[in-house]
């Protein structure tokens, strides 16, 4: 190392300016902490190194949650998308979700500008190589050039840069994503501090030139005519036309090429040691595993408005470059494909996330937080979600305020973090709606109702937005009350309307609310029958309809939440020694000592901890609390 020098003093230092780092730094700066954001390459801020799209089921929910907490991702994509679609429109309200195609260069540029404009935030290009840790407390970082930055809290977001290694067929080299410089030394620093690391793998498909695609052999996939937005604050579409995506399929020839060259695929030759995700397999994986499937979908997605590059979704591969080219050209529409960037697999270090508290602070080193792919997740949205939580908690630490932990019934963010710190993950973790047990409560449409209060309390939601939110909430409540109290009589007008909607006529007068519960009846019909005193905005109507129509199901889930919250409220003191708890099964004892759950609820979700262990723990806690109470008095 060079001679070191003092680079500066900050409240919070954020390492990495990907989706986690950006949210973390913006949160701390906006909460009033003097923040330093360090990144290896300033041209890669909020870069989308893999697919040029954001959102979809669960992921789209998360973007809205980040927005409700006062984060940036939703606003940034609303300003830079080139296509917006609502998915699952044929299904219930809980699983509908927005998905956007991003102009990935604009997305990055726009976020960088936001960072640059933010008060209390210093953006700087530098590679961090070590931490300053005294008595188990993180006090700062040291960069490659020898600069020492002191910080009261540090948020680490290394993405896939940590000891990154790119693999293309027989070719292998140390690299971050998209041929960026990897971060090698930091991995050793973490090990020295005692962190247990694992090796994960992900991959990306090739990019091809637009003009080499025969679009006539593909199906068009356009965006929505009346797009909705991610951010609750966005009101306007970007000033350009949306761009379509295109669908094609692999052919039998594609599959033959793969099978012929399987010995050259790193996944099968043993060159890759990292664990990949089961839900995001490479094309070679898919062809081998699902040999009976004659074809697989390929989506062609534009990477931006001002580039000719197209992303070949579904063709993620680490085959040698020349095989990749042959693969591409076996796909209808891509016979003359010109390869612009080769697909590759990338391996990187992650820290086992059970080494974190639910605040995302590490258990080993105080005031050090980690967020994003370093915690074993995959996906931009998952990273942003952790980023904002780590940022909020780092700022709360600096400002000596109460920490923020979202529960599984608060949002997908709660589900994500609880899963990570309680169960860990043995593959890159992706959010799915099926991971949430209270899916009907964690809707895309009500993220603001669930989380704005928290965002306001920590200081990331402006007073103006908060007042608007309160007004919306009040309007929803008033209208629901009105519909429950107003009765409609079986007049000829009503009966004919019901008949037209294909539902049974009324026998007696009923409340408007119960009429709305019929599957065939919608709010616009109610509005006609009995208009509210003042016209309601569409998002209020939507809430009223959903909350009344699915009240029965919502009630069921609320009951479950109540049950769970009882368990969550039984806190486990942090100084408990599980060796003192007689009767725990040895696996449970070991797991509990390792994870150190903060509540009985969390303890019950640890795999290997059985109901009998929980009963024992409950009995022990009862005893423990009595002893503490006696001592106290």
């Amino acid at each position: 190392m060079h001679l070191s020098f003092i680079g500066g003093k900050y409240d919070v230092i954020v390492i990495g300016a990907g989706h986690a780092g950006c949210e973390a730094a913006l949160a701390t700066a906006r909460m009033g902490c003097n923040t330093l954001l360090l990144t290896i390459n300033l041209d890669m801020v909020a870069f989308l190194p893999c697919n040029p799209s954001l959102g979809g089921p669960a992921k789209g929910h998360v973007i809205r949650e980040v927005d409700a907490l006062g984060g940036q991702m939703g606003k940034n994509i609303d300003q830079t998308y080139i296509q917006m679609r609502m998915l699952n429109t044929g299904k219930g309200p809980a699983v509908q979700a927005l998905r956007a195609q991003a102009d990935k260069f604009l997305y990055s540029k726009n976020m960088k500008e936001t960072l640059e404009r933010t008060e209390n935030l210093t953006l700087r290009q530098a590679m961090v190589e070590d931490f300053i840790v005294e008595d188990g407390v993180c006090k700062g970082v040291i960069t490659q050039s020898g600069a020492i930055y002191e910080g009261k809290a540090v948020v680490l977001t290394t993405g896939t840069y940590l000891r990154g290694k790119v693999i293309v067929g027989e070719l292998m080299y140390e690299s971050g994503p998209n041929n960026q410089q990897p971060s090698i030394k930091l991995s050793d620093s973490l090990k020295r501090l005692g962190f247990e690391l694992a090796r994960f793998k992900t991959g990306t498909p090739p990019r091809i030139h637009r003009d080499s695609i025969d679009f006539s052999k593909t199906e068009i996939q356009p965006g929505d005519e009346n797009p909705k937005f991610f951010s609750y604050e966005t009101t306007e579409e970007p000033p350009w036309e949306q761009m379509p995506c295109w669908l094609t399929y692999t052919s039998t020839e594609t599959h033959e090429i793969i099978l012929e060259n399987l010995h050259r695929a790193p996944m099968f030759s043993g060159a890759i040691e990292g664990t990949g995700a089961r839900y995001c397999p490479s094309i070679e994986d898919k062809v081998v595993r699902f040999s009976d499937k004659p074809r697989h979908q390929i989506f062609l997605e534009p990477e931006g408005r001002e580039t000719a590059e197209y992303y070949v979704q579904g063709l993620s591969t680490s085959m040698p470059e020349e095989v990749q080219l042959r693969l591409l050209r076996s796909v209808p529409g891509l016979e003359k494909a010109k390869l612009m960037r080769t697909g590759y697999a990338i391996e990187y270090d992650v820290i086992i996330p059970t080494q974190l508290w639910p605040t995302l602070e590490t258990k080993l080193v105080k005031n050090l937080y980690t967020a994003g792919q370093i915690n074993g997740t995959s996906g931009y949205e998952e990273a942003a979600a952790q980023g904002i939580i780590a940022g909020i908690n780092a700022a709360c630490r600096v400002l000596d305020r109460e920490e923020v932990v979202l529960s599984r019934s608060d949002g997908y963010i709660g589900v994500l973090i609880d899963d990570l710190v309680t169960k860990g993950t043995n593959e890159p973790y992706r959010l799915l709606t099926s991971r949430a047990e209270y899916r009907l409560l964690l809707r895309h449409d009500n993220a603001d109702l669930r989380l704005t209060e928290i965002g306001y309390k920590v200081g990331l939601i402006s007073e103006e937005r908060y007042q608007k939110f309160l007004k919306k909430k009040q309007m929803i409540e008033d209208e629901i009350k009105r519909l429950e109290e107003t009765k409609v009589k079986p007049t000829p007008e009503v009966q004919s309307m019901l008949e037209q909607a294909g539902t049974a006529p009324l026998q007696n007068a009923v409340a408007l609310a119960s009429l709305l519960r019929r599957p065939q009846v919608h709010y616009n019909m109610i509005e006609q029958l009995s208009p509210p005193p003042e016209l309601l905005p569409p998002e209020v109507k939507e809430q009223v309809e959903i909350q009344l129509k699915y009240a029965g199901y919502i009630e069921k889930q609320l009951l479950q939440v109540e049950k769970m919250q009882k368990m969550e409220k039984k806190r486990i003191p942090s100084d408990i020694d599980y060796n003192d708890v007689k009767g725990l099964a040895s696996e449970a004892r070991q797991k509990l000592s390792e994870i150190r759950p903060i509540s009985i609820g969390q303890a019950s979700r640890i795999s290997g901890v059985n109901p009998s262990d929980i009963s024992i723990l409950l009995v022990y806690l009862e005893h423990y609390n009595r002893v503490v109470a006696t001592r106290g008095s």
Binding site: L87, V95, E437, S604
Partner: protein, 467 residues
């Protein structure tokens, strides 16, 4: 209660009765020292190795009197049923000496166990899981060999196996729904309401099948509530005595240990009968012609099974004819007694009124016909095979409750599918049913659905084939 310092408990762990061997079980940290206080053998129990059987005598430490000749088994923690130190004293039985030994233990500071407390400890100490614990609890309560058999089977996992099969069916359906939800744009066939409806119906049928056995399970655990009716002197008391004598009537009369009320059980080759109003039957021996039909009528409403006794030697009178009509509303068997005497009863007339297989001819005096009676009862309650080894009986109230709830959830799902509600709403009920079933076998606490889906479908070629 403090887990780390549980007190020690004792109970008589074999049915109380005359003769045979009785076992007193003691569990807890004080079990060995306490037993040592009242035991005299080759060497003190505290010096004996674990899992050894030690011969000696129980001595009343106050008087020095020998109480009984015994074998004492030592099982040290954690290699015991409760994972605590356990002592089992096998004595010569006989209600007097068994109770005496128990009393001596209690005098040493051991507490009388609550019902099921050994199992509870085994459970709290992590020795057994929830479903096993419940089955073992049933086992403890089981009154007959057959009930024991069923409880044992559940502990071994026969019920678990059936429940797992059912959950597998649901998880396949759910996996498909989840794929549709989480990967909306991929070419996996959209699941139709019709498909969900069919799967739910299939699962409901399966649960109904399990619940049908529940009645048998209850019968096995609590006994078939049986009323013996008939006019005076027709042989009711003789029948009762025959059943009791032949099959060792189990009369439990220690309040607090097993049951608070005195009841009379007889076991007819493994079929437990709980006899109603046995005292009444015995009374009639003295109070001739007094009670008759009136009393029988009361018994009718309570019983699972009615044994109507007629005499081969007498024609049916009007009371009997009326009674015959009444019993038809319940499972019943007509016993034609006194076949050792000349026939006076018009059997053809009887067969016109009741099916032939419901009529058993017996001579209680000569003890004939008992086998046929047993077979008739067995056919009636167990579909001809009380001991058909591959049947699963649901014999636990909690299991029945959970199964019923799961069934209701599935019915709601089915209804939702019929009303064409969104797929993710229907999923809520399917998921709930899956969880409720999981509770029976203790499999919901820590696993998520997703793990289940991935572990089951990752390599079957259907779940991931769309990505």
């Amino acid at each position: 209660m403090v887990v780390s310092a549980m007190d020690s408990i004792a109970a008589i762990s074999t049915p109380l009765g005359e003769g045979g061997i009785a076992v007193i079980r003691v569990s807890g940290p004080e079990s060995i020292p306490a037993a040592d206080q009242i035991f005299k053998g080759k060497k003190p129990l505290k010096e004996c190795k674990t899992h050894t059987v030690n011969y000696g005598h129980i001595i009343d430490p106050a008087s020095g009197e020998k109480v009984d000749e015994v074998l004492v088994t030592i099982m040290r923690s954690p290699r015991s049923f409760t994972r605590e130190d356990v002592v089992e004293i096998s004595c010569h039985g006989g209600i007097v000496s068994v109770k005496r030994i128990l009393e001596l233990l209690l005098q040493q500071g051991i507490r009388l166990a609550e019902p099921g407390e050994f199992t509870k400890r085994a459970f709290l100490n992590g020795r057994i899981d929830l479903s096993q614990a419940e089955a073992v609890m049933d086992m403890i309560r089981s009154k007959t060999d057959q009930a024991f058999h069923v409880a044992l089977k559940q502990a071994e996992g026969l019920l678990s196996k059936q429940i797992r099969k059912l959950r597998q069916l649901l998880v396949e359906t759910m996996a498909h729904i989840e794929v549709n939800i989480d990967y909306p744009e991929h070419d996996v066939e959209e699941l139709t309401a019709q498909f969900i409806k069919e799967k739910c119906a299939q699962a409901i049928d399966e649960i109904n099948r399990l619940l049908k056995t529940a009645r048998q399970g209850k019968v096995l655990r609590e006994g078939i509530v049986t009323a013996i009716v008939g006019r005076p002197n027709v042989g009711k008391s003789s029948l009762l005595n025959l059943l009791a004598q032949e099959n060792k009537a189990i009369v439990t009369d220690i309040p607090g240990t097993t049951r608070d009320v005195i009841e009379e059980y007889v076991s007819l080759n493994g079929i437990p009968l709980r006899l109603l109003d046995t005292a009444g039957i015995r009374e009639t021996m003295d109070v001739v012609e007094q009670i008759g039909v009136e009393r029988s009528k009361n018994a009718l409403s309570e019983a699972d099974l009615i044994l109507l006794v007629l005499s081969y030697n007498q024609p049916m009178n009007d009371d009997e004819k009326a009674l015959l009509e009444q019993v038809k509303s319940k499972p019943f068997i007509v016993i034609v007694n006194k076949t050792d005497l000349p026939q006076q009863l018009d059997l053809d007339e009887l067969y016109k009124k009741v099916p032939k297989h419901r009529v058993i001819q017996m001579s209680i005096k000569n003890e004939t016909g008992l086998d046929q009676l047993e077979k008739a009862i067995s056919d009636m309650f167990f579909g001809g095979g009380i001991d058909s080894g591959d049947q699963t009986y649901v014999s636990n109230v909690r299991h029945i409750h959970l199964l019923t709830q799961a069934k209701e959830a599935l019915e709601e799902a089915k209804e939702g599918a019929e009303q064409l509600l969104p797929i993710d709403m229907i999923q809520i009920d399917v998921h709930r049913a899956w969880e409720l079933l999981g509770e029976i076998i203790g499999e919901t606490a820590s696993e998520s659905l997703l793990d289940e889906i991935f572990s089951k479908f990752c390599f079957t070629g259907f779940f991931l084939s769309f990505i």
